[in-house]
Amino acid sequence: MTMLFPSDLEEACEMLAASDGKAVPLAGGTDLLVHWPQRFEDHGRTFLDLSQLAELRAIRWSDSALILGGGVTYWQTLGDRAVCDAFPLLEKAGRQVGAVQIQARGTWAGNIVNASPAADGVPVLMAYDAVVELVSTQGEEEIPLSEFYLGYKQMRRRPNQLVRAVRLPRRRHDVEVFEKIGPRRAQAITKLGFAATHSAAGWRVVANSMAPTVCRCRTLEGMLEHGSPIRRPEDLMPAIRQDVSPIDDIRSTAQYRQKVFSRTLFHALFSDEK
């Protein structure tokens, strides 16, 4: 295994370009190093260490947005009162990623680029209309997170690009919901989950572990937009079937995922209980 230690972001981009995109960026390593002894195919690879790049660790504000550097950890956001007040779902989701050790090392950008359909950071970022800022020796590119994924583990980031930052527009939200349903209360891979927000920009409903990628549920968003009458969880089923396509796997069943999605959504957004 070869490890590259760039001293700044520019050098990181150069090293990545020089490796012809073959070097693998390593941030917290909480995805890349899992089961390391058994990952024979990775042992010979070259890794590019991002964890020491101060530029990536910064949390900044502009007039219109919160800018999370590409190396910001969950723990950093959890410790930042302003961030948690303005974007409470970042706190809610961040606290439910793994447990403290993982929150301390794991990064939002790593969660995005790992591209797991079960990622817990991605849904809340997507529900806040996050934009991914990519950088390479060839320049910069911006992609809305909701258009970032192309299919299972497929994304629009090219191998020579780094996530420089994730940008969240500042808006007033009157609804902010995040639900993670896992097999236990911590250190759990999500069986199904969703984030939902409402602002002047409209409704956002984002599901994870319900499709090959984390995705927006446009039919459900439309129903909320139009105030369609929903009296029971079952009434949501047709829209859910349009928006997502859960599967049976080692962690749960398609039926459970659909059913519980309808019930948690219903109780969070449609029922009049308090």
């Binding site: 089961h35 058994q38 349903i181 097999p183 080692i250 749960s252 519980v260 029922s271």
Partner: protein
């Protein structure tokens, strides 16, 4: 007393087998079958490796019999002609480079000509699937008392139920591991284990060696829960075979994934009850059938079955009882010892059934237990008359009081009426657990204990019983200080090393404190006798006498010894399963409060109370720790630990997908003890370790039933399962 073995563990200083550094040591690894059943045709060593660099061992390298000595002799050390389960060990490799070794294992292919496997232990086998006797049944047992058929025919109410429980992985913190080397012609293994003399026996048979040619040393052990009772014998043999062939020390350490898929688990069970009751809920007859999945080899299944059937009727009195049990071969990775040893399975069924009977008769689940709990002078299913004088109703009442059972029940009714999707309920389980080995087990073990009086005035306790987290060294020290009036620092606990300690039996079945502790006390008395002192002489008198003795007998060893002798009045008829199954029972009532989320079908335990009568509490902190830790394991088995099989092997053999409770999944666990000293246990102690594995599952599932009105009879009660159980309830309405 302060915990003796705590600090080194807490500080990370304890050296487990993987921490031991040995010069010129090779790593060992295991090549396994990927087929569940068939004939081995060939072993292919793949391209790209210089196989001459590797130490390679197969069944032809065994100097002795190709058998892992246990109750039966059916399990080979290394598969020779045939394999009976996925992950069965076939070839061993050793090399100095661990990473290279890992790749090499992947490059060896065991070519098997498949034969029809059987995976469902509840189905009768097809002729082509028969691999043991004429029906694949390893062991069949029957307990019978009274006339069950007549009572069932006459009874006003008969309640039937079928209960199933899943496999369970031990998840000890330290995986299996063994270090082996040859020293002056003696094969020595040191590693993680519960029973050094079991390992020694296995080494002798398969290596064709005598007692003095094999030595077994227990390294500090990071948890066992039964998983290190019989399994270490095999891995010790593997390490020893590699070391013998290599002429170098070999360390064989399982990685977590390998440990999860290849080692023993708790036996899955299928249990059917037919219970005859009168309209007031009095038990008239219990007809119980217990079937255990034994897996591919017999291991300890016959004794697990024995404990399962003996506990199947619960802590109740009933005139007519029939319990039939069988342990059945399948081509699953063999099941083996696990905390509770069959009792948790049959007590789950029994205690769920009690609640189902109560609900059928619209009786209070507390009342039905009160009515049937065994009283002194009454007999258990095996005809053992209970005369211990324990107030079993007091155990129940204490649990009800501590848990505010009645108050919660009322409050939850209101809560459930108003909450949109949360439902709360309380449930209880009353149960018993037989302490120590079943029947004549202790007589066969014939345990021996030494307490040596040393020249420096200290005494050394020599037993083969192992510390693996439960605090054995602390309790042994405490027994000696209490008996001899010495300070803790004057008591040395010998390392369990078969070259130095006598065979005091295995560290299982909660016999260590009760039985071995009692022998330690006797050996202390014997030591005093050999010094010419009376039993009232303690402390400084003793220290002085020790010093004098050694001055008068330079270079000699002074040993107090004790041998097991069965208490009077214990008679066990193993052929008919009648008599005193155990010298003593511990009695308990556990109460769980749960909350079911109807959105997610998830059950969460809100509160847990565990009350038990265990003879005598020797060390309150340790006893509490045993109960609390066990309850956590019980919560996992009841709700979370969903063992998935593929071809008889664990399909979710990673800690990511095999879900054990985290600290956040565990409620406050409130523990209370009642004491009624047992005449034949150390200071009056009975067993304790299995109770917390027996009680949680039925208490929790009974609470779920109370909360939801559903009738769950299968564990683990995962959300997916809860969904179907609740849907069945909706349909039933």
């Amino acid at each position: 007393m302060k915990r003796r073995e705590g600090l080194a563990k807490l500080m990370g200083r304890e050296a487990y087998v993987d921490d031991l550094t040995v010069a010129d040591c090779l790593w060992g690894a295991t090549v396994r079958s990927s087929c569940a059943r068939g004939r081995i045709r060939e072993v292919r060593f793949g391209e790209g490796f210089d196989w001459g660099e590797f130490v390679v061992v197969d069944h032809r390298d065994l100097p002795g019999e190709n058998v892992i000595a246990l109750i039966e002799t059916d399990q080979p050390v290394l598969a020779a002609e045939a394999v009976r389960h996925v992950h069965e060990a076939v070839v061993l490799l050793a090399h100095a480079d661990r990473d290279l070794l890992r790749r090499a294992v992947e490059a060896v292919e065991v070519v098997v000509e498949e034969e029809p496997p059987i995976f469902d232990f509840r189905q009768p086998p097809e002729p082509a699937q028969i691999q043991h006797g004429n029906d694949n049944v390893f062991k069949e047992l029957k307990i019978e008392k009274g006339d069950v058929d007549k009572a069932l025919a006459k009874a006003p109410v008969v309640v039937e139920g079928v209960f199933t429980t899943g496999a369970q992985e031990h998840v000890y913190l330290e995986t299996q591991g063994m270090l082996a080397w040859v020293e002056d012609g003696v094969v020595t293994v040191k590693g993680s284990m519960q029973c050094p003399y079991y390992v020694q026996k296995a080494l002798k048979l398969a290596l064709g060696r005598e007692d003095h040619e094999v030595r077994v040393v227990q390294a500090p052990t990071g948890g066992g829960f039964g998983g290190k009772e019989e399994f270490p014998s095999g891995i010790a043999l593997h390490a020893a075979l590699l070391a013998l062939k290599a002429g170098k020390p070999v360390k064989l350490i399982y990685e977590r994934g390998e440990d999860m898929v290849a080692t023993t688990k708790r036996h899955p069970s299928w249990i059917r009850h037919r219970t005859a009751v009168d309209t007031k809920g009095r038990l008239l007859a219990q007809d119980i059938e217990v079937v255990l999945d034994a897996g591919a080899y017999a291991t300890l299944s016959s004794v697990v079955l024995s404990r399962a059937v003996i506990h199947a009727a619960g802590p109740y009195h009933c005139e007519n009882v029939r319990i039939r049990g069988r342990a059945v071969l399948t081509n699953a990775v063999p099941f083996g010892a696990f905390r509770g040893f069959g009792a948790p399975q049959s007590l789950f069924a029994c205690e769920r059934q009690m609640d189902r009977i109560a609900s059928e008769l619209t009786l209070d689940p507390v009342r039905i237990r009160r009515r049937n709990l065994i009283r002194d002078g009454e007999e258990t299913a095996t005809g053992q008359v209970i005369t211990d004088g324990t107030d079993r109703l007091k155990v129940l009442d204490r649990a009800l009081e501590l848990s505010s059972f009645q108050h919660k029940r009322r409050a939850y009714l209101d809560f459930n009426d108003t909450h949109p999707y949360l439902r709360r309920g309380v449930g209880l389980a009353t149960f018993l657990h037989g302490a120590g080995f079943t029947g004549s087990g202790e007589v066969y073990l014939a345990s021996e204990v030494h307490v040596a009086g040393l020249a420096d005035g200290k005494v050394e306790v020599r037993t083969a019983n192992t510390e693996m987290g439960q605090g054995t060294q602390t309790v042994f020290t405490q027994l000696v200080t209490d008996r001899l009036g010495l300070k803790a620092e004057d008591v040395v606990i010998a390392e369990p090393d078969t070259a130095r300690v006598p065979d005091s039996g295995p560290t299982v079945a909660s016999r260590t404190t009760m039985v071995v502790g009692g022998l330690i006390e006797k050996a202390c008395d014997d030591l005093r006798r050999r010094l010419g002192l009376g039993n009232e002489e303690r402390g400084e008198v003793l220290t002085a006498a020790l010093a004098l003795w050694h001055r008068q007998h330079p270079g000699e060893e002074l040993l107090g010894t004790a041998h097991y002798e069965p208490p009077d009045g214990i008679h066990w008829d193993d052929a008919n399963y009648r008599g005193e199954a155990y010298g003593a029972f511990a009695w308990a009532t556990y109460v769980a409060a749960v909350e079911v989320d109807l959105r997610t079908y998830t059950a969460r335990v809100l509160d847990f109370v565990a009350v038990q009568e265990i003879g005598k509490v020797l060390h309150e902190v340790l006893a509490r720790g045993q109960i609390q830790g066990g309850v956590v394991q019980g919560i996992g088995w009841a709700l979370l630990e969903d063992f998935r099989f593929k071809d008889g092997a664990m399909a979710n053999g990673q800690l990511t997908n095999y879900i054990i409770p985290t600290s956040d999944d565990v409620p406050p666990i409130r523990v209370a003890f009642l004491e009624n000293p047992y005449a034949h246990g150390a200071q009056g102690a009975k067993g304790i370790g299995e109770l917390p594995m027996d009680g949680p599952a039925p208490a929790i599932v009974n609470a779920v039933a109370a909360a939801t009105g559903a009738d769950p009879c299968t564990i683990p009660l995962t959300p997916e399962r809860m969904m179907s159980v609740l849907e069945a309830r909706e349909v039933a309405r």
